[in-house]
């Protein structure tokens, strides 16, 4: 291992080592400083990743512009989620070192997943962050909903892990290798065993991305988990799963079945997600179902992967993540000791807490794809790729389901600004970190909506194919 390899691995070492450090420090002296320490560690990983942008290749891992891009993405999302969690956990009495340590561990897992070059490392990375979320989702031991969500996620997650493991085993059985590059070489003359393995892998990834029909856990888990966890869960973990899927794409080769399967997944996700969200009265459930629909658009972009869809998918994911962080972040700062669950509880909150209300409203406009919020640019990219790929029917269906989505996203805005304020809720002044954590994703959302070119240039550089 050379010095450069060490530089390249520094973020992973900081995150993974930091996780253990926080755990140990918590055992010696528990307290709020652990959150500050965690924040410093994430910042250090971020700085290390940005300051030494070196490519490196080692067994199982390849640090490339691709992996660095995603690593920065996760760390930023993790930082924002941590800022939300600090105050939220203090208010709820979620003390202890588990939360920050697990967060770091999950980030390390994501980092590994997007740098993997063989199936084993990919599996390890994916399961590592999923494992982190098993804990984070159920972090409130006294919460019934949280426990239920944790159990549901655990059962579904292990099932998907088993499916993916089986798929990998079949691929190994068919080819005798687990290296993605070597698998890609055989991909153009796939046998039955190989294809079965590939399909199982895709199904496993559909679980992680909560694409219909593998989405059933989503609503319960989003609802039961604490809002800052959902914020990270719905953004970074989705992005990590997308990154893993992108790494796996070469294995599918030119097999046309991939397009057909993704086509069905995209269609079902867009329809089921958006129509089910229409019926929800709990805001977190609504956002959960809507995220199923949003992932449908990502899948739509992937259907058109040969015509620039990959770039569009990642661009969409970045924008979705900014909106997801802002919306779940707003929910977490708007909650006091209890989390207002029903949509009705947000009546008039846009005037009570202007910043949180504005962040939530901007996020809703972005998710609905209404300019000048960035969601419009994301949808623009996805639909342009889809039409370029000749997927006209799917694009039209996607557009019409987007109209359905506009309705339920607007409902939130209507609640925030057009309904009379509830008198019994008093708003709490936000602390400095919460303001930063809310303002950052909102600013990104507005900025990417008005001036997306730098981000598009960056993506064009990373995804040259």
């Amino acid at each position: 291992m050379t010095q450069f390899d060490l530089y390249a691995l520094a973020p992973l070492i900081i995150l993974a080592g930091g996780s253990i450090l926080v755990l140990l420090a918590g055992a010696l002296k528990p307290g709020g400083y652990l959150y500050a320490l965690t924040g410093a560690l994430i910042a250090a990983a971020l700085v290390a990743g940005l300051l030494y942008p070196v490519d490196a290749l080692m067994p199982g891992l390849a640090i490339t512009p691709f992996s660095r891009f995603f690593a920065v993405f996760y760390c930023t999302a993790g930082m924002v989620a941590l800022l939300f969690a600090t105050g939220y956990n203090r208010r709820r009495g979620i003390a202890g070192e588990e939360y920050p340590a697990t967060l770091l561990f999950a980030l390390a897992g994501m980092w590994a997943a997007c740098a993997a070059t063989d199936l084993l490392m990919l599996f390890l990375g994916l399961e590592a962050f999923t494992f982190g979320f098993y804990i984070l989702v159920a972090i409130r031991r006294d919460s019934v909903k949280g426990g239920e969500a944790g159990l549901k996620y655990l059962l579904n997650g292990t099932l998907s892990a088993a499916i993916m493991g089986m798929g990998m085993a079949l691929l190994y059985a068919a080819t005798g290798t687990i290296k993605i590059a070597e698998l890609a070489l055989v991909a153009n003359q796939p046998g039955m065993l190989f294809l079965t393995g590939v399909c199982l892998l895709l199904l496993g990834m559909a679980f992680k991305l909560s694409l219909v029909p593998a989405h059933l856990w989503t609503a319960d888990v989003y609802q039961g988990a604490p809002a800052p966890v959902t914020a990270l869960f719905s953004t970074a973990s989705k992005a990590a799963s997308l990154a893993a899927l992108l790494l796996l794409l070469p294995i599918f080769g030119t097999w046309h079945g991939l397009r057909d399967l993704l086509w069905v997944l995209a269609l079902l996700s867009m329809l089921a997600g958006n129509f089910a969200a229409l019926l929800q009265s709990n805001i977190k459930r609504m956002l959960a179902w809507s995220s199923v629909g949003q992932m449908g658009y990502v899948a739509l972009a992937l259907v058109a992967a040969p015509s620039g869809g990959v770039r569009a998918a990642v661009f969409y994911m970045v924008i979705y993540a900014a909106a997801g962080l802002a919306s779940f972040g707003a929910l977490s700062v708007l909650s006091d000791k209890y989390e207002p669950a029903a949509l009705d509880d947000y009546r008039g909150l846009g005037y009570r807490s202007p910043l949180a209300g504005a962040a939530l409203a901007v996020a809703m406009f972005s998710l609905a794809g209404i300019p000048p919020a960035a969601g419009f640019m994301g949808k623009f990219g996805v639909f342009a790729a889809a039409l370029r790929g000749g997927e006209t029917a799917l694009a039209v269906i996607g557009m019409l389901s987007a109209l359905v989505a506009v309705y339920f996203y607007l409902r939130v805005v209507v609640m925030l600004y057009m309904k009379p304020v509830q008198e019994n809720i008093h708003s709490r002044p936000l602390d400095f970190f919460e303001i930063i954590a809310l303002a950052a994703p909102t600013a990104v959302t507005v900025l990417l909506g008005i001036h997306p070119q730098p981000m598009l240039d960056l993506l064009a550089e990373i995804f040259t194919r």
């Binding site: 209404i370 640019m377 557009m399 600004y417 057009m418 598009l456 240039d457 064009a460």
Partner: protein, 497 residues
């Protein structure tokens, strides 16, 4: 020199800069209102100045043929989107109408908006920027973006300061418009891709896309996407149902802008983009367009006659009046098209004034029921005078502005399709019936309820007097405006009479 400055960008950015000025006085109603008005007046002054110098500009060589001013720079090269603005005679007329209407809307809501004034004024100025942009954009993606941007402030305007079933109305308004727009977005992207296939250039620029060769059936599909988006805004029968609700429940300023400007963005879009981009498809759909416009005129006039709420009545009359604009576009003939474009401005002024008048009455009496009034002529003569004046303008009294527009539309259509013009004439008779009923019941007749009504305040008198002067000017001497749009209309139609 005028052309050295990015005047068109300034037109869009000035109201946005005004929003920033409002931030320090967000909660101070007394100082926020004059600031917003000053910004709107500056905008008006700028557009009037442009109008005063348009002949000089036309004499200069332009970067785009037929355009007085044009600005162009790259915006999102990765998507092929450019920031292209252009001002020709039609745009200039619309831009003037926009800045004028916003001044009136701000003045008319001077006292009636008592809560969240800072937010209200910010939304108004943002909307002004968006509408300005819609009338100036020559890049289809930019146009689409601004087309959506202008919706958001209106959504809040109706939803926050509206009356009655305001949330139902505003959501309905938003969804109807989005429905058409989203399909138009797909059509825009598809057109962009087809053009890129043919020429190898990825662009959304209108003037490049005009050269795209499209097979007839593709053209029909794409035009359908554009057509739907634009006629929902119009609104064309049977897609008009959002309009009476939105108008009725909107605050007065919202109604004035809705009728005066947002409806015009639909007809403007059809003239600027829909017909020129897809000429054959437009010809194919013309019979349908005629039929729906005529049904709209007759139907809306009949429904207007049955209304009990004054605002609803005027809303339906809007649908009928916009039907004439639609017929003029469908005829796609120089005289009729000029009439349509002029009628867009006329309708904005007249109907805007009528909504102001109803708003003023509503502020005093807290009701808009026709049955509640009567005998106003004796009680509030100044108000009644203007009410009568704009009602007469609305039904097309010669000498006032609507007459000119409707006359040109019908004269042009008569040349092409006498039958359509004949049926449209019936519409004018129907207009007469419901307007006379409105005037008769509200202004004359016996007083039915003793409402505490006071006559016009100086502010209200100013608004109505200005509107009336503009109205008479456009009615008596429309030639300068017709000159203004003559060149662009010839270019659009291709010079053939």
């Amino acid at each position: 020199m005028l052309t050295e400055y990015p005047i068109l960008t300034i037109l869009i950015l000035l109201p946005l800069a005004g929003c920033l000025l409002l931030l320090p006085v967000w909660n101070c109603r007394l100082s926020a209102r004059p600031i917003a008005l000053a910004v709107a007046l500056a905008e008006l002054a700028l557009t009037v100045w442009l109008y005063a110098s348009w002949r000089g500009l036309a004499a200069l060589p332009s970067r785009l043929p037929g355009y007085l001013l044009a600005e162009d720079m790259p915006w999102i090269p990765a998507f092929g989107i450019r920031y292209t603005l252009g001002l020709d005679g039609i745009s200039l007329l619309m831009v003037m109408l926009t800045s004028f209407t916003f001044c009136m809307a701000l003045l008319v809501s001077w006292n009636s908006i008592k809560e969240k004034t800072g937010l209200f004024l910010t939304l108004m100025l943002t909307m002004e920027a968006g509408i300005m942009g819609v009338f100036l954009a020559l890049d289809l993606a930019l146009f689409y973006l601004l087309w959506e941007v202008m919706l958001i402030p209106m959504f809040f305007l109706i939803g926050i300061w509206g009356h009655g079933r305001k949330i139902y109305s505003t959501v309905k308004f938003f969804l109807f418009t989005m429905f058409g727009s989203l399909l138009m977005l797909l059509a825009i992207i598809a057109l962009h891709l087809l053009h890129a296939q043919q020429s190898g250039v990825a662009t959304f620029g209108l003037h490049e896309l005009l050269r795209t060769q499209l097979p007839a059936d593709t053209q029909l599909w794409l035009f359908a996407g554009f057509f739907l988006a634009f006629v929902i805004k119009f609104p064309l029968f049977p897609l008009h149902t959002w309009l009476p609700d939105a108008h009725t429940d909107a605050p007065t300023a919202g109604s004035v802008i809705l009728a005066g400007l947002l409806l015009k963005t639909g007809s403007y879009g059809l003239i600027r983009f829909g017909y020129p981009l897809f000429p054959q498809a437009a010809q194919t759909l013309t019979p349908l367009f005629y039929t729906l416009s005529l049904i709209g005129i007759i139907y809306a006039s009949l429904v207007a006659f049955a209304q009990e709420d004054m605002k609803r009545l005027i809303a339906y009359s809007s649908i009928a009046h916009m039907g004439y604009v639609a017929i003029g576009i469908a005829a796609w003939q120089p005289v009729a098209l000029s009439g349509s474009i002029l009628q867009m401005a006329n309708h904005g002024v007249t109907t805007g004034a009528l909504f102001c008048l109803v708003g003023m009455l509503d502020e005093r009496a807290h009701t808009r029921e026709i049955a509640a009034f009567g005998g106003l002529w004796g009680k509030i003569p100044q108000y009644s005078f203007f009410f009568l004046f704009f009602s007469l303008a609305s039904l097309g009294l010669p000498g006032l502005n609507n007459f000119v527009g409707e006359f040109l539309v019908l004269a042009g259509t008569m040349k092409k399709l006498p039958l359509v013009a004949a049926v449209a004439f019936i519409g004018i008779v129907l207009t007469l019936i419901y307007t006379v009923r409105l005037v008769q019941e509200v202004i004359f007749q016996q007083e039915r309820q003793s409402l505490p009504l006071s006559d016009l305040s100086p502010r209200e008198l100013l608004i109505l007097a200005v509107l009336a002067v503009v109205n008479i000017w456009m009615g008596v001497h429309p030639a300068p405006l017709l000159d203004l749009i003559h060149g662009p209309v010839q270019l659009l139609i291709g010079g053939g009479m």
